[in-house]
């Protein structure tokens, strides 16, 4: 059996003395799209930040393997260069740095060796991504997320994923706050990343985006644990009934 891209084993993590992730097991295989669902405050965003190596969060138990390698000691840029990507729920602004310049720098970081990034290749990557996400090309001259609307920020996150072509994209609530047209475009951007070599972990509160992006597996997270797993039908079940029955069911155990 081929090695999974991501293996999370018995993971406990938190910030300061507060434990937020309380024992998670999650395996993501190459070529698959997983959805991680759950109500607000269940620890979904924390899990994404722990995976990407946010310095504020600490793993207290368990391990995370990326392509079989424990990433505990790796800094965020090392995880990025290894093939991980996080589309932020709240991306930061970088005033004074244009989107084009930012993307060039992030790509150059991947071409430090003997495969130089040619201007022509760079331009094609940008043009393709911009076209796919139906973005205004003038975005390339604007400063990263500086004065961007919510929807513009989400598109820029997906544009970065399209340009950087990570093996594993973790998308944290990329669907929230989008109108239906934007949602459809973003979903196409996510679908465009589906390939036998890559995988997507789609973190969402709502089932809505799963009408456009079909997950292979759905995981439901509550209070720092994954409490239920299933196929795409699980998402529909949550959509019709909400999280309450699940919360009650667990409380009665």
């Amino acid at each position: 059996m081929p090695q999974p891209i991501l293996q999370v084993r018995d993971l406990y993590a938190g910030v300061g003395d507060t434990e937020i992730i309380k024992g998670i097991d999650l395996t993501i295989e190459r070529g698959s799209v997983h959805a991680l669902m759950g109500p607000n405050g269940s620890g979904k965003s924390t899990l994404s930040l722990v995976l990407m190596g946010h310095p504020k969060y600490h793993i207290t138990r368990g391990e995370v393997l990326f392509n079989g390698k424990n990433i505990a000691g790796m800094k965020p840029h090392e995880r990025s260069l290894a093939g991980m990507f996080l589309a932020f729920q709240y991306p930061s602004a970088v005033p004074g740095v244009s989107v084009a310049n930012f993307l060039r720098n992030t790509l150059m970081a991947r071409h430090k060796g003997d495969a130089p990034l040619t201007p022509a290749k760079f331009k094609k990557l940008l043009d393709d991504g911009i076209a796919k996400l139906k973005m205004d090309p003038s975005v390339l001259g604007r400063y990263v997320n500086d004065g961007f609307s919510g929807g513009e920020k989400k598109r820029l996150e997906i544009l970065q994923a399209l340009v950087l072509q990570p093996e594993l994209s973790i998308l944290d609530e990329t669907d929230s706050g989008l109108d239906i047209d934007a949602l459809r475009i973003i979903a196409e951007g996510i679908e465009a990343q589906r390939s036998p070599e890559r995988a997507v972990l789609l973190i969402t509160h709502y089932q809505r985006i799963l009408n456009y992006v079909k997950p292979d597996r759905v995981h439901v997270m509550l209070k720092g644990r994954i409490v239920k797993e299933g196929g795409p039908e699980l998402a529909h079940e949550l959509e019709s009934k909400g999280y309450d029955p699940l919360i009650r069911e667990l409380a009665s155990v």
């Binding site: 965020p76 840029h77 990025s80 990507f85 970088v94 004074g96 740095v97 930012f102 992030t106 970081a109």
Partner: protein, 469 residues
């Protein structure tokens, strides 16, 4: 001649090398009327200038340090233990071949002849007290533009100099303008005839080579009606452990409809006290821009000013300051509105790192009974760590009613979230910090000629290496 050049001590400061030159003339240490007399005699100056120097020395000796300054640092200056006049070469060269070999090599390493070939209209290169090289492009000379060192300016155009010299900054303005007035040497003299547009920048490069010395260049730029000139200055010094002093006086006169742009990239080594008085007069419809970058020095005190004396005059200051460990960049600007419909814009950006300190000190003054005055002041400070410090001291004196004044000041920290965001895209913490700082300085950098923008970005990258995480 044996040339020995030592490698720099400070690994991040690539200009820290020094030359062991034999000085053609070296005054004794310390400052008194005898030294002033000696300097003036050596330069064979007219009596009025000699009197001016002596008068200025008396003012300097009588004036106390400015009480609002960082006296802890300022009082470290040992005025008695310093050379006030050092002449390295016996004559000024008009080709680089005329410049003594070891001095020429220094300017080669600083990239001056190369910049001159590529994009400059003229260069003066000052080494300690005297200008050792000077050139001006033939076409500019043919247009009647005067560009020389200040001493030559005084010799060859005494009438113009006498008419304008010290009219913008009198010796008594402050302690250091008095000091400069007493012992000034070198600097640039520029006169642009009416209507002449100098399309390529003129550059001066200031190098302090000796230890424990004072460099006192004096610059006077006169733009006659309807003319334009862009002047660029750069400065570096070897890495010595003892302090040196750089105290310049720069006067700009933009006559009716003239436009002067003055760009500074100050990168002194961290042993230099950089105490500079810069002031411009803008007459009717004139425009003066100060683009002022302060990266080096131990303590910089510099507040480029524009006196808006004629209707529709416009003054702009765009300054950046970067202070790391042991540095205090005390910078700012003064805009004096003395005529109706005048406009001023001050944009100040500072970065403090590793315990460095930046201050913004500014004044916007509007005289009574003026209409249509506009002023916009914006100060942004970026703190890289909790040890660093930034202060803002804005002053507004407004005596007219029909005035639109905007002032905005922000202090921000390089946030953990912002750094994490950039790092999560594959950049190391040094690369990410460099990107954030470069972005912060972008409004300044985009005003620079490309060659300087590249150099400034490179400097910032060097400063950020190994400084974080």
């Amino acid at each position: 001649m044996a040339v020995k050049q030592q490698q720099l001590v400070d690994k991040d400061y690539k200009y820290g090398f020094r030359d062991n030159v034999k000085y053609a003339f070296k005054s004794r240490k310390g400052l008194d009327h005898e030294i002033v007399e000696q300097i003036s005699q050596l330069k064979n100056e007219p009596q009025w200038m000699r009197d001016f120097r002596h008068r200025s020395l008396d003012i300097f000796l009588a004036k106390p340090m400015p009480p609002w300054a960082n006296l802890e640092l300022l009082n470290q200056i040992k005025f008695d233990d310093m050379y006030y006049y050092l002449r390295a070469a016996d004559m000024e060269g008009n080709t680089w071949e005329d410049v003594p070999e070891e001095i020429k090599r220094t300017f080669d390493r600083l990239g001056i002849p190369e910049a001159e070939r590529k994009f400059l209209g003229g260069v003066t290169a000052q080494y300690d007290s005297e200008v050792v090289y000077h050139s001006i492009r033939k076409d500019l000379e043919d247009l009647g533009v005067f560009f020389s060192d200040m001493d030559t300016g005084l010799r060859e155009h005494e009438d113009i100099v006498k008419q304008h010299f010290a009219t913008v900054i009198p010796p008594g303005d402050n302690k250091f303008s008095a000091l400069n007035s007493a012992v000034w040497s070198g600097g640039s003299f520029i006169w642009v005839p009416p209507g002449v547009h100098v399309s390529v920048p003129l550059q001066a490069y200031f190098r302090i080579n000796a230890e424990s010395m004072g460099q006192f260049e004096r610059t006077l730029i006169i733009a006659e009606p309807g003319s334009f000139v862009h002047y660029i200055e750069g400065c570096t010094a070897p890495s010595y452990s003892t302090n040196s002093l750089h105290s310049a006086v720069v006067e700009l006169i933009a006559k009716e409809g003239a436009h002067i742009r003055y760009t500074t990239i100050q990168n002194w080594y961290k042993n230099i006290f950089n105490l500079v008085t810069k002031r411009a007069v803008a007459q009717k419809n004139a425009r003066v821009e100060w683009v002022d970058g302060n990266i080096g020095s131990k303590l910089t005190m510099k507040y480029p000013s524009v006196y808006l004396m004629g209707e529709n005059a416009r003054g702009e200051v765009l300054s950046i300051a970067y202070a790391s460990e042991g540095q205090h960049q005390d910078a700012g600007s003064k805009m004096i509105h003395a005529a109706p419909n005048t406009t001023s814009i001050i944009t100040s950006k500072s970065v403090s790192k590793g315990g460095g300190r930046t201050s913004y000190r500014g004044l916007v003054k509007v005289y009574p009974n003026l209409t249509g005055v506009k002023s916009n002041v914006r100060c942004d400070a970026l703190l890289m760590d909790p040890e660093s410090r930034s202060d803002t001291y804005p002053t507004m004196e407004v005596d007219s009613k029909d005035v639109r004044i905007e002032h905005e000041a922000t202090v921000s920290k390089v946030g953990e979230e912002q750094l994490f965001y950039v790092m999560s895209r594959g950049l190391t913490d040094a690369e990410a910090t460099t990107m954030i700082v470069n972005g912060f300085f972008e409004p300044f950098v985009k005003e620079l000629p490309m060659e300087y923008a590249v150099e400034l970005n490179r400097l910032i990258a060097l400063e950020m290496e190994g400084s974080v995480g």
